[in-house]
């Protein structure tokens, strides 16, 4: 199940189709439960069996007594309850924002100016002959300017002033503002940001009530923003330094990477080697064209071949050989003085037997007849028990993880937004 879940997680990251994820995980969790009750009967496959669940109790949607749509009294009662909940929430929010002395969701910043100067840097004494003097922009308070290893160039063209903004904890900020410090102020942009973050958090939570336009709006934003985020990172973090900088080093150096180390000796080799991913990259983008799609099979074939080559070695080495070696451990564990460690010995035995039993279940599809068959059948059954314990542990840990994510979001709402809690005591 864990494999399935993490696969789903990563798939989601890739295509941004996050809407499906919770449903899939819910199904996975349910199916694991189903697997527990059905696999013993079938014994044929280690895979989670995707069967229709028979819950053994009524589905509210199909039960008129429980279905609000079919029962106006129930519908009214529920509407009232949820209305009260929303009202209480709204009143609490208004009280929190307007009446409580400390307010909520405020972000403060300190603005300052930082001056940079362009300076001549002398080549270090005893430096290799290739190392030459250079110029560099340095902060005006840089130690290099004080100790003389860099000399500031004269003229306005060699001086730059930049506005710098840093966050200040709210209480400290309020005290400084009260004391007349004009550099510290409330950041409207960031305060608005906290409100927007809270809105999106609640918008996603609103799906718990039912699918609704606010949730869909938030989900649409998520898909668009995450695709753009990935694209931007792919462009600036990989394509510019690892591809364009090899194709046209001088241009990239002058444009976005002023410190790029251009080695004329390697330039031709680098250029030729970089041409391959450049061409393959263009061919891959042809996938977007309605007619030239087939051209993208070449880069696709390259990606598949490379991935296959990488995975072949890695899985054989790290997951097959190494795991076999990790299993061949002393079944009688001794401590430093040479006496037997009962607990560890038992653990090692449990581990060793377990791996063999599960592998037997996976690979020995002998008919469970005769002495050998019966024995294989029993070992296989033991293997299934091991797997059930493994799935149970995976489920427990998955639940644990999901709850932590929820508590982090509630901490954000109660802390950064509402200011009801203040673990760091800074508000």
């Amino acid at each position: 199940m864990t494999e399935q879940l993490s696969q789903q997680r990563t798939t989601q990251r890739g295509d941004g189709a996050s809407h499906t994820i919770m449903c899939t995980e819910m199904r996975s969790a349910e199916h694991t439960g189903m697997h527990a009750s059905t696999s013993a009967a079938t014994h044929t496959s280690p895979h989670v069996q995707l069967r229709t669940a028979s819950h053994g109790y009524a589905n509210p949607a199909s039960n008129p007594a429980a279905n609000p749509a079919a029962n106006p009294r129930l519908r009214r009662a529920r509407t009232t309850i949820w209305l009260i909940l929303f009202l209480v929430g709204g009143i609490g929010l208004a009280y929190n924002a307007l009446v409580r002395p400390h307010g909520m969701a405020e972000v403060y910043v300190e603005r300052s100016e930082k001056t940079f100067v362009e300076a001549d840097i002398a080549a270090p004494v005893g430096a290799p002959s290739g190392e030459k003097a250079s110029t560099k922009w340095l902060a005006s308070d840089s130690p290099a300017l004080q100790d003389g290893s860099a000399i500031a160039m004269a003229g306005a063209a060699h001086t730059l002033t930049i506005n710098e903004t840093v966050g200040v904890p709210p209480r400290a900020a309020r005290e400084r503002i009260a004391a007349g410090d004009s550099n510290v102020s409330l950041s409207i942009v960031d305060t608005l940001g906290v409100w927007i973050a809270a809105f999106f958090t609640l918008a996603i939570f609103s799906f718990l009530w039912r699918d609704n336009p606010i949730y869909k709006f938030a989900e649409s934003i998520l898909v668009g923003v995450s695709a753009a985020y990935w694209m931007t990172l792919g462009y600036w973090a990989t394509l510019v330094p690892n591809l364009f900088a090899k194709i046209a080093p001088e241009t990239i150096k002058g444009w976005a990477m002023p410190a790029l180390d251009v080695q004329p000796a390697d330039q031709t080799t680098q250029f030729l080697l970089a041409l391959v991913p450049l061409i393959l990259g263009f061919m891959l983008l042809m996938r977007l064209s309605p007619k030239g799609g087939w051209i993208s099979v070449w880069p696709l074939a390259f990606i598949i071949g490379t991935t296959a080559g990488l995975k072949f070695v890695a899985f054989i080495e790290g997951d097959l050989m190494a795991q076999a070696a990790n299993t061949i451990i002393p079944l009688v564990a001794l401590n430093d003085t040479g006496s037997m460690q009962f607990g560890e010995s038992l653990g090692n035995l449990v581990l060793f037997v377990g791996v063999l039993a599960v592998l037997t279940y996976f690979f020995f599809s002998v008919e469970h007849k005769g002495r050998l068959g019966t024995m294989v059948g029993k070992v296989s059954r033991l293997g299934i028990w091991y797997l059930m314990i493994t799935f149970g542990a995976a489920f427990g840990l998955t639940v644990m993880g999901r709850i932590t994510l929820l508590s982090q979001r509630l901490e954000f709402l109660f802390g950064d937004w509402l200011w009801i809690i203040d673990p760091a005591n800074i508000r």
Binding site: T2, E3, L5, S6, R9, R13, A53, S54, H55, G56, Y57, A58, N59, P60, A61, S62, N63, A65, A66, P68, P169, R171, A172, E175, R176, L208, W209, A237, T238, P241, N242, A245, M257, A259, D261, L310, A314, F315, E317, G318, N326, T390, L397, T398, M400, G401, R402, I403, T404, L405, L406, S407, Q408, R409, L410, E411, I421, P423, A424, N425
Partner: protein, 332 residues
């Protein structure tokens, strides 16, 4: 399916409680979960923690490295897992910096680079002001390619990272002088939420070069099951889910939770004379003098306790409904 359900609920005479449970709107469960997690946060419930074997092994591996060792931190996660992993990342960075190790941050996840920046800004800069960019730590940033990145940098770092994240060539980064590949690092710390992450580090680094690498991992609950088989040969230590984070925080804070630099930083943040940011009168942070950000994991164990009890109760109740309906159905 629905026919079956309707039959079971309409033909079997249940008690009112069983009937309520059987037909309950799942939003009541959602509400219960919200309260189970929300109330302990508001009530500041915080149970005690005692470190387990895996957290002890992780702590010891960092602790026993000679001061000033080179450590590569790969932040392979994003905000979706920060609830579990950020406390680990904070504690890893604080522990390493307290030991004086040189830190290089990288990411295999696009948003991991942001998490690395965040950790540097909230932990390294305030609590270790002596750490200088380039000299004591450097930001390598994100690279696309998943396990392909690991595969290349184990033998040639410059092939992937010609410059650091700000554009400085690696040859000009003092702490990376003479480093041609990541085998020059004494330890790899991986904070991992899935693919690519801990599994790939184990496969492409420690399995391929067992003598060259020492790998420690902080991982989410979801994928931890898959990583246990790598311990202790391919991974020297592992922090599992929020419990692992909380345990590790206890170990780190016991030794490095209240250093003079921390006390000074706390004073500045809190601003009130003589009151540090962690000594909250309302009792948010019981460990005196330890910054709240280094106790995040321990704080989250309160909601965790109540929510786990709710989960157990729900499963038990679900089975009560199942057996009640089944046995009554059978007797008819």
């Amino acid at each position: 399916m629905s026919t079956q359900h309707t039959q079971s609920s309409t033909t079997v005479p249940h008690g009112a409680f069983i009937r309520f449970l059987a037909t309950m709107d799942r939003r009541w469960i959602f509400l219960a979960m919200m309260l189970a997690v929300g109330m302990p946060i508001l009530l500041k419930l915080r149970p005690p923690e005692s470190p387990g074997p895996l957290s002890n092994a992780t702590f010891a591996a960092i602790e026993h490295l000679p001061a000033g060792s080179r450590v590569l931190l790969s932040f392979d996660y994003d905000p979706a897992s920060e609830g579990e992993l950020q406390p680990m990342a904070n504690a890893f960075v604080h522990h390493c910096a307290s030991k004086g190790h040189k830190l290089a941050f990288m990411a295999l996840w696009p948003l991991g680079a942001q998490k690395a920046n965040e950790t540097v800004n909230t932990v390294l800069k305030p609590f270790h002001p002596e750490y200088k960019l380039g000299v004591d730590y450097c930001m390598l940033g994100y690279k696309a390619g998943n396990e392909g990145v690991i595969k290349v940098i184990v033998t040639d770092l410059l092939q992937q990272y010609s410059t650091d994240a700000s554009g400085t060539p690696l040859g000009e980064v003092p702490m990376l002088k003479g480093v041609s590949n990541i085998q020059a690092f004494d330890l790899i710390l991986n904070v991992s939420a899935g693919y690519p992450g801990a599994k790939e580090w184990a496969q492409y680094a420690t399995s391929a070069y067992p003598d060259a690498f020492s790998l420690l991992v902080g991982t989410t609950g979801v994928q931890s099951n898959q990583l246990y088989p790598y311990y202790p040969t391919q991974m020297k230590g592992m922090l599992v889910a929020i419990k692992g984070a909380a345990e590790y925080e206890v170990l780190v804070n016991a030794k490095y939770g209240n250093t003079p630099a921390i006390v000074a930083a706390q004073r500045m943040m809190s601003s009130r004379e003589g009151e540090s940011a962690s000594e909250n009168a309302s009792g948010d942070t019981p460990e005196s003098g330890v910054p709240a950000i280094l106790q995040e994991g321990q704080r989250r164990m309160g909601p965790q306790l109540i929510a786990h009890l709710l989960m157990v109760t729900l499963i038990v109740l679900g089975n009560v409904v199942y057996f009640a309906t089944r046995s009554k159905g059978a007797t008819r």
